[in-house]
């Protein structure tokens, strides 16, 4: 049970309307603003020139942070962001970095306007520091933000903001992610907005108060300066811009940029069908020792030109570190809306968010109350929120003849945290988060495969460090870093592969190091497929204890597999805090992307290429894709047809009827996804064989054949046994067409789960979309 704390409500921020906010700002703070007329009279030239300049400013801020920051997470993984905002903290332009963070920066600024304007005041030359995710400005305590008001002739014209992930901000575990966390008091202390910079100078007392909590205070200090530098650069550039065009014109462009983004997203939404899509995402374990499965569920409704995200039904907040605050839930959605729906729309979240509505109950996993543990929020419940948002948005896009090209399945189902600490080869203490999982697999798309080791769902430009840089900085020696064969979710289009790293301690005088591992997706894989596509791999972490690796090094052969290492395997649970000894080897395999469509419909030639490039094993080619290859890797067509027929029959189970092969006329039908269409009467039909799946207005899965099996039925990517980590039984579940047995929905879920993944589409809407 998580206690309630009187006084915490001040920080439980919910951004309201601009009008409401204005009422809460003291009159003493003069705000710069312009009227609608000023916005209307902007000419296209001025608008485009200034908007382009504002974008260039966020790029410059980003470059500055990357070059100045001292944390690998920032410089390599781009886990940071920056923004230019208007006077009320609405974001006009954000950088192309961690899109999660942009949904929290505006909240922190708005809270500051409400709570700091009177005392201690907001003045030129100030910058506020915040790492309190209930307020905003980040999703967990590691996200420290620094935001600066920008004044012009005595009026508050706007804000600039930089936020970056810090390696260590205190708490009981190195790196501040705390598998032992019961609640936030076990973690880093959240800091609501404090004035770190005053009259353009860092206040030493405030800085010390913040640095004191960290195991890496020097690094933290360096990053504070990086963010300060980025704000300085932005403000210099804004000054030049305003000198040339005038404050009113620049402000008018800011307003219009947000209006423009809003209007374009609304236009895109209007072109898409109305309907409701449902999705679910599980996290196994909330802390060390927990054996639960914790779900976030979403019903996303698209109505005309708005999207409503309804999270009711999500599990209550838990004791542990996986919860996220309201900011984390909002960020989980907004980031995916930007990445999936706004590829061609300016990243002006201040406009984009006007198209979104949220329904959520306080005290739930992704809208937790103080003092719930949130140190893993960004990749805990926020990431789970990403997953359900992606499922729903991809399914919605999949219905549209052109927008379906943006329908990408769930990417790397969660971040696989690897935190190392100890004494490095120079005899200095160190703590670091290894960013190798930045090369996660991206989901398959409706028209092509997912990108192998291509990144993550919320950071357009993620990056993993070179092995050599990791070995230079930290006392480790890699046995390998490689793409993991078969880890991409199988499908007509295959999900991108995840990868693995395997290493041991090297050259550390203490001969051991601390290891915090945190990754859900071990019992239930999190990167599920779209349109019948299969889920990607489970994440998989093994500590090989007392291995013979040091003996192997003196010999002739380098170990290639875990089985070469002898020793005992310890399968690390989703949340764990352990030590790595001198003879131990650590292996981590993070997730790939979900598949798209039924794998037995994949072009055999693509499977042959995958086998040649070691993306798919020969075994999986046969067992999952039903493709037979000869010794030279060429497709054997007749045997392939035979294999695929057998796979269909296996799905048919005891019903045993031969698969139907009907060439049906689809005139007047409208597409739902790769397998399902609505006919002219509004009935759901199999797009491959024409079998009627459900009457109009009914769930299209109603008439499907349901088959269950062990999780490994989904393919060799499902490694490990769920009962090692959770109490609930986990099962493979597939909904197939009763005629041709094509896979309509393929999932791995708790055995007793009700069915969450459905879609309800207004038939009239579907038809008009496809024909239009």
């Amino acid at each position: 049970m998580i206690p309630t704390i009187a006084g915490a409500e001040k920080f439980a921020y919910r951004p309201g309307s601009r009008a409401d906010l204005l009422k809460k700002i003291p009159a003493g703070l003069k705000l710069h603003s312009v009227g609608r007329a000023q916005v209307a009279k902007l000419d296209p030239l001025t608008y485009e020139v200034i908007r382009h300049r504002l974008w260039a400013i966020t790029e410059e801020m980003g470059e500055a942070i990357k070059r100045m920051s001292g944390s690998v997470v920032v410089t390599d993984c781009n886990d940071f962001d920056c923004a230019v905002m208007d006077e009320l903290g609405d974001e006009v332009q954000v950088g192309l970095y961690n899109a999660q963070l942009c949904a929290s920066m505006d909240m922190a600024v708005k809270w500051t306007l409400e709570n700091r304007a009177a005392n201690p005041g907001i003045a030129e030359g100030d910058m506020f520091l915040c790492n309190d995710p209930w307020v905003g400005g980040g999703l967990h305590q590691n996200d420290a933000s620094l935001f600066a008001p920008f004044f012009w002739e005595g009026e508050l014209l706007g804000w600039t903001c930089a936020v970056a992930h810090q390696v260590d901000v205190g708490g009981v575990s190195p790196g501040s992610w705390t598998p032992r966390s019961e609640n936030v008091f076990w973690e880093s202390l959240p800091t609501p907005p404090i004035k770190l910079v005053e009259k353009f100078q860092i206040r030493a007392d405030i800085e010390d108060a913040f640095l004191r909590r960290s195991r890496m205070p020097k690094l933290l200090a360096l990053d504070l300066r990086a963010m300060m530098g980025a704000n300085n650069i932005a403000q210099e550039r804004l000054t030049v811009l305003i000198r040339k065009y005038g404050a009113d014109v620049v402000k008018a462009v800011m307003y219009r940029a947000m209006d423009d983004a809003e209007e374009r997203l609304r236009a895109k939404l209007r072109a898409l069908p109305d309907g409701t899509w449902h999705a679910v995402s599980y996290q196994d374990q909330a802390k060390s020792g927990d054996r639960g499965l914790h779900k976030v569920v979403l019903a996303m409704t698209k109505q005309h030109d708005r999207l409503i995200f309804d999270f009711r039904g999500t599990d209550p907040q838990v004791i542990g570190m996986i919860n996220c605050t309201y900011a984390g839930m909002r960020a989980g959605v907004l980031a995916i809306v930007m990445m999936w729906l706004c590829g061609d729309i300016p990243w002006a979240p201040g406009g984009i968010e006007r198209c979104l509505e949220f329904i959520s109950e306080d005290g739930t996993l992704n809208n937790c109350t103080f003092p719930s543990g949130i140190s893993k929020a960004s990749v805990g419940s926020t990431w789970a929120t990403h997953n359900v948002a992606i499922e729903c948005i991809a399914a919605m896009l999949d219905m549209h003849p052109t927008h379906r090209e943006n329908a990408m399945s769930v990417c790397i189902g969660t971040w696989d945290l690897i935190l190392l600490s100890g004494v490095d080869q120079h005899d200095n203490g160190f703590v670091t988060m290894l960013c190798d999982p930045m090369a996660g697999g991206l989901g398959a798309r409706a028209d092509q495969d997912g990108v192998d080791t291509g990144g993550g769902p919320c950071i357009p430009m993620g990056r993993a460090a070179d092995v050599e840089m990791n070995e230079f900085q930290f006392p480790i020696l890699y046995l390998w870093r490689r793409e993991e064969i078969d880890s991409g979710g199988p499908g007509r289009f295959r999900g991108g592969l995840g990868a693995s790293s395997c290493f041991m301690i090297h050259d550390s005088s203490t001969r051991q190091m601390g290891l915090v591992v945190s990754s859900s997706g071990k019992a239930v894989p999190l990167a599920c497929g779209t349109s019948g596509g299969y889920p990607a791999n489970t994440s998989y972490d093994v500590a090989v204890r007392n291995s013979n690796v040091r003996k192997l090094l003196g010999g002739r052969r380098w170990p290639r597999e875990l089985s070469d290492l002898g020793g005992e395997f310890e399968y690390l649970p989703p949340e764990c805090d352990t030590q790595l000894g001198w003879d131990d080897v650590y292996y981590t395999n993070w997730q790939g992307g979900g598949g798209y469509g039924d794998p037995i419909l994949r072009e055999p030639e693509r499977v042959a290429w995958d086998v040649a490039e070691r993306k798919v094993s020969r075994e999986a080619a046969r067992a999952v894709y039903g493709v037979a290859l000869d010794d030279r890797g060429q497709v054997i067509m007749s045997e392939t047809q035979q294999l695929r027929r057998e796979l269909r029959m296996r799905r048919a189970g005891r019903s045993g009827a031969s698969p139907r092969v009907a060439e049906v006329s689809q005139s007047g039908w409208s597409r739902i996804d790769d397998n399902v269409a609505l006919d002219a009467d509004g009935r759901s039909r199999c797009a491959h064989c024409g079998t009627i799946l459900a009457e109009g207005g009914r769930n299209y899965l109603d008439g499907a054949l349901v088959r269950r099996g062990a999780p490994s039925e989904a393919g060799p990517q499902i490694r490990g046994e769920p009962d090692r980590f959770v109490d609930q039984r986990v099962t493979f579940r597939q909904f197939c067409c009763p005629g041709c047995y094509a896979a309509l929905l393929t999932e791995i879920v708790p055995a007793d789960e009700t069915q969450y993944r459905t879609k309800t589409i207004a038939p009239r809407d579907a038809a008009s979309v496809t024909r239009g």
Partner: protein, 699 residues
């Protein structure tokens, strides 16, 4: 009489430039011959000779140097026609080149493409899996051998690759720059069975930390090496047959040249030579004009390129991206956006006018080419605005259809936005200028400089049309449009005047303070290597200079700043001086108060640039002073739009051919030259200098 030739082999044309010790200059142009570029080179030399009224043999006999730049290597990489290469690497790390650190999905893309996340992809694999071989061996970060090279496995891998008929083998092992023994041994094993096979070793090609870009660089070196070796052999044979006894030089991406004999070993260094031609040309022209700080801008058909010259030297970067692959290669830093003359103007879904990055290219080209292009481009706007003369485009060699420009702009831009065609054209023109201006500012500022300290050079077909527009905002004092003898072959001119430049580098990551003996020893090693490499060029240099730098960073930061280091033996005090210079540079780049020395420093990579100066340098002929008044060059008048402040005004048009040294023109004016058109905006003054260049100043 001694000649120097510069030859620039472009995708379409091969440009040639010749100069002698009497300051005589001629240029020539002939079609490129992609099946064997050597033929196009000889054709261009034939034409130079005929312009000089000499036989080709007579010209070549008295030619001391031929320096040439070629796109051939780069093209083969980009179009995927490169040689079949086998790759040998450390066991467990063969996937490094497909994982690409995850960054391969977006590296080198523009922000618009990066933002369109769900459509991004990695490029096709550099090397197919069956050609990637992992061998059992391991070296650690100190260079200590952890596992000896398993020669049985290595021999088997080599045999399999040779059976696959590879044209080259690239070898890149972890930490080979700390200890190259295993790479060297693998080369010996290869040469035991295939003595002639091209072998590319990462410890030689780029001995720098970070295995992914090092492996990519080594592989690409193997992909272009065999072809470059064959091509240069054939060219040398052709030239020698025509009695050429001088030295054949090849331009490198770093802005210096290298002899054809030694180029194939470092083949990868020759890519990008075509991009740097303009920057090198600016350096050389700058020497004649007394400009030490230059922003070099080249606006062609599809791209707008920006390079920087500071203190007479091109600004270089230590990495570059080709086809989304990152390379560790010191190269002249050139930034590009898709804002060339062919960039398409369009309206986004929000009803906003955009220009580029999509381009109509050379085919179908702008609407006014009447070659099937229906999208309005920057060039179409230039035509509608009266800046470009449809009857005198490229000196009248190509006729433009103004009506088609108008139609394209009307249908695609003006009508949807409810503007007049002229308004729409003016808006396209101004947005193009503003984007160019943003890119230039970003390049200059991000390199730590202030645009006001620079002269801006503008060339390429479309550059001079827009330079007054994009330069005015930047606050640069002077804009130079190279015209006169060098105009048509500006890059070839740059090549002709280039010295030999070689780079040597090695990573030796270590925490500060690094003992002076380590630094001295490292630099001495690099300089000794360069001295022997310079000797291998077999050229009698007039003098040789060496410049040192170290890539330094604050501990735990990944970004490094290349910090210049003085030459000679360094004391412990000097080492501290280096860290001071680093901090000064850091502050200059990122602002006051952003450095944090207490976090500690690390010296990562040591680098030395050597320049071998060629004994004689071409000088450009000085023109006689104008005798007639500037009015004699007036060709006519027309209504034109040159900038937003003045709008449409009656504008005087000058014929460049009739202008002479000393002539001054007050804006608004248009100068039509055979290769380009210059817009002299209302607040600008133009002057023809002693070399025939047009120099703009703003009031």
């Amino acid at each position: 009489m001694q000649f120097i030739l510069g030859i620039d082999i472009g995708g379409t044309f091969t440009d040639a430039f010749a100069t002698d010790d009497q300051a005589r200059v001629v240029s020539a142009k002939s079609p490129s011959t992609p099946d064997n570029y050597a033929r196009g080179v000889i054709d261009a030399i034939d034409e130079l000779a005929s312009r000089l009224k000499l036989s080709t043999e007579a010209l070549l006999q008295s030619t001391s140097y031929i320096c040439h730049g070629t796109t051939a290597s780069l093209n083969s990489l980009v179009t995927g026609t490169a040689a079949k290469v086998g790759f040998i690497t450390t066991c467990g790390h063969g996937d490094s080149i497909v994982i690409m650190n995850g960054e391969g999905r977006y590296a080198g893309l523009g922000p618009e493409q990066i933002q369109d996340f769900t459509r991004t992809n990695k490029p096709p694999p550099l090397v197919r899996k069956r050609l990637v071989k992992e061998v059992d061996e391991r070296v650690d970060y100190k260079g200590a051998e952890i596992l000896p090279l398993n020669e049985t496995v290595a021999r088997e891998a080599i045999k399999e690759l040779i059976d696959e008929d590879v044209a080259a083998i690239a070898v890149s092992l972890l930490w080979s720059f700390r200890n190259p023994a295993h790479e060297n041994r693998i080369r010996e094993l290869i040469h035991e069975v295939a003595p002639e096979l091209y072998v590319s070793l990462s410890s030689e090609v780029c001995p720098r930390i970070r295995e992914y870009p090092r492996s990519v660089t080594t592989i690409m070196n193997g992909q272009v090496g065999p072809a470059l070796r064959a091509y240069l052999r054939s060219l040398q044979d052709e030239l020698e047959r025509r009695r050429f006894g001088g030295v054949l030089l090849v331009m490198q991406g770093s802005g210096g040249t290298i002899s054809a004999d030694t180029a194939p070993r470092q083949a990868i260094s020759t890519i990008g030579s075509v991009l740097v031609g303009g920057v090198v040309g600016s350096v050389n022209l700058g020497e004649s004009l007394g400009h030490k700080n230059i922003i070099s801008t080249d606006m062609g058909g599809t791209t707008f390129l920006v390079g920087l010259v500071v203190d007479g030297k091109p600004v270089t970067a230590t990495t570059t991206v080709i086809n989304q692959y990152t390379l560790n290669l010191p190269m002249v830093r050139v930034a590009a956006i898709g804002s060339g003359g062919g960039a398409i103007a369009w309206i986004d879904q929000g009803g906003n006018l955009k220009v580029g990055p999509r381009s109509a290219g050379a085919a179908p080209g702008p609407a006014c080419y009447a070659a099937g292009g229906h999208d309005p481009t920057i060039t179409d706007a230039d035509v509608v605005l009266g800046i470009l003369n449809p009857d005198f485009f490229l000196g009248g060699r190509k006729h433009l259809r103004r009506d088609l420009s108008e139609q394209a702009i009307r249908e695609k831009i003006a009508e949807p936005l409810k503007m007049s065609v002229e308004q729409a054209a003016a808006t396209i023109y101004s947005i193009a200028n503003a984007q160019a201006s943003d890119l230039v500012r970003k390049c200059v500022v991000s390199a730590g400089y202030d645009p006001r300290d620079f002269a801006l050079y503008s060339f390429g077909g479309a550059g001079p049309v827009h330079c007054a527009g994009y330069a005015a905002d930047l606050g640069v004092g002077t804009v130079v449009v190279p015209l006169g003898e060098t105009a048509s072959a500006f890059s070839a001119f740059g090549l002709a005047a280039s010295n030999v430049g070689l780079t040597a580098e090695v990573s030796r990551p270590q925490n500060f303070p690094v003992p002076a003996e380590v630094v001295n020893h490292t630099f001495e090693e690099l300089e000794a290597r360069l001295r022997s490499d310079l000797e291998a060029q077999r050229i009698p240099f007039s003098r040789v200079t060496m410049a040192r730098e170290i890539d330094i960073r604050y501990t735990l930061q990944l970004a490094e700043v290349s910090t210049p280091v003085k030459s000679g033996k360094l004391s412990e005090d000097d080492i501290h001086g280096i860290s001071d210079s680093f901090e000064e540079l850091y502050t200059k780049l990122y602002g006051k108060g952003t450095g944090y020395r207490e976090a500690g420093l690390q010296f990562i990579t040591y680098r030395v640039f050597a320049v071998g100066y060629l004994p004689f340098k071409p000088s450009l002929p000085v023109l006689p002073k104008a005798r007639a008044g500037v009015e004699s060059a007036i060709k006519g008048r027309r209504r034109a739009f040159l900038d937003l402040a003045s709008g449409w005004i009656e504008t005087t048009v000058y014929d460049y051919e009739k202008l002479a040294f000393g002539h001054e023109i007050e804006g608004p004016a248009i100068v039509e030259a055979p290769t380009t058109t210059v817009a002299v905006t209302p607040r600008a003054m133009a002057r023809i200098d002693q070399l025939g260049n047009l120099v703009l100043h703003f009031k």
